[in-house]
């Protein structure tokens, strides 16, 4: 009757209000986004002009960039940035580090061809004699052996030999990872390897004229400072 009719009208009014609110919210959102886009475009255009000005300025005329006397803060920030950038670059050379109260903390970087991989830390004390305080060298690298041989007499040699071991290990591991990643279709089962990654065993298939041949491969890397295998045994299964 009347009551039901009223209830229906109320429901419709409610729906209409909700829809109205949704539309308003949507319009508000659009307006906000549009304003943000304008703001960012202005900022971007300003920066573009600044960078262009900078590049032109560098082609010859002096004074265009730093007309005012720079503040002391600016000067020191420049120096800080310059020193930090130079120190950053050192990690590309393989040996980086910083002096500590009791000695020096070295950072050994490793790479395979152009890809830099892991960093290892070596915290050394220099008094009363050179000793290893802390390190992040993996346990399967013969650190103590190398230290016993070179640490006291020739610290550069010590780091160089250690670096050889680490780079070779990381190189072998990277190659094994790449093999798994890029040839997953041809490798049957899992690629087996030890922690030092100097022994790899896997099965791989080769297809030719609709026939698939399965081979078992065993690669041995006899030289711990080398990232190429010294022995390869391939057998058909």
């Amino acid at each position: 009757g009347v009551f039901a009719h009223l209830a229906l009208l109320e429901a419709r009014a409610y729906e209409a209000a909700v829809k109205q609110e949704e539309t308003e919210q949507q319009e508000e959102k659009l307006a906000r986004l549009k304003a943000r886009v304008q703001e960012l475009r202005l900022q971007r255009d300003k920066l573009r002009a600044q960078v262009e000005q900078q590049e032109k300025g560098q082609l010859g005329k002096e004074g265009a960039l730093n007309p005012a006397q720079p503040s002391a803060q600016t000067v020191l920030e420049w120096k800080m940035k310059s020193l930090k950038a130079m120190l950053q670059i050192f990690y590309l050379t393989g040996i980086s580090g910083k002096l500590t109260k009791q000695g020096v903390c070295f950072c050994i970087s490793t790479a395979y061809e152009g890809t830099y991989l892991d960093f290892y830390h070596l915290d050394l004390l220099t008094k009363p004699e050179v000793q290893i305080y802390r390190h992040s060298i993996p346990i399967f690298i013969p650190l103590q052996q190398i230290a016993k041989k070179y640490l006291q007499t020739d610290i550069r040699r010590f780091l160089s030999v250690l670096s050889d071991h680490l780079n070779a290990y990381v190189g072998r591991r990277y190659q094994a990872d790449q093999l798994q990643e890029h040839f997953s279709g041809q490798i049957e089962g899992t690629l087996q390897r030890n922690s030092l990654c100097n022994l790899l065993v896997f099965n791989y298939n080769v297809s030719s004229e609709n026939k698939t041949f399965l081979f078992k491969v065993r690669l041995l890397y006899g030289d711990p400072c080398c990232s190429l295998p010294t022995e390869a045994v391939i057998s058909s299964t």
Binding site: Q54, Q58, A72, L76, W78, L83, G114, T115
Partner: protein, 190 residues
């Protein structure tokens, strides 16, 4: 529909934000490259900050802390150069790309290792993963003094081809050291 217009705006916002990041870095790099302050100017700045600071503490870093930080960086740098024998004379970098978690910078580096001087140019691509940053060298170009030695030029070309910057520095270190020894030995005989 309204939703697709929203998406268009949101996409443009993201692109603009990335472009702004790149331009900001380019501008800062440019400022850094085109300025140079001598050691005296640096000392003067430290002194002037210390005088200013006597008045108020703006919550900024105390100038003697700043001075200590600068000195510590300088000692670390000079220690590394002395220890490795690698002295960098000049270094410049230009940000070429900065999108998402990828940064590509072009570097120019010159210096010497013991008595051999070198000049390098390369591109460094850095990608931020969840836990670490990966770095890859591309477009490596090396100019090394004593490049007349055919073994050395073969080594340099092969290093350039594979982007083997790390191997270059490690081998350069020992080659330069022995080059010095040979030079001294020959002088001894003259």
């Amino acid at each position: 529909m309204d939703n697709s217009i929203c998406k268009v705006y949101e996409d443009e916002i993201q692109l603009l934000e990335e472009e702004i990041k790149l331009l900001t870095e380019k501008y800062e790099d440019g400022q850094q490259e085109s300025t140079f302050f001598s050691d005296e100017e640096i000392l003067m700045s430290i002194n002037s900050l210390q005088k200013e600071f006597q008045g108020e503490s703006k919550g900024n870093e105390h100038p003697s802390d700043l001075k200590a930080r600068l000195e510590s960086l300088e000692t670390d740098l000079s220690f590394l150069m002395k220890f490795t024998g690698i002295q960098f004379r000049s270094h410049s970098k230009k940000t070429v790309e900065k999108t998402g978690n990828r940064t590509v910078q072009k570097h120019r580096l010159s210096g010497n290792c013991h008595s051999l001087s070198f000049q390098l140019e390369f591109q460094l691509l850095e990608m931020q993963n969840k836990e670490s940053v990966s770095a890859v060298i591309t477009d490596l170009s090396i100019l090394l003094e004593s490049g007349e030695d055919s073994d050395v030029s073969k080594f340099v070309s092969s290093t350039e081809e594979h982007g083997n910057l790390l191997t270059f520095f490690r081998s350069l270190s020992s080659y330069a050291e022995w080059y010095e020894y040979r030079r001294c030995t020959f002088l001894h005989f003259k």
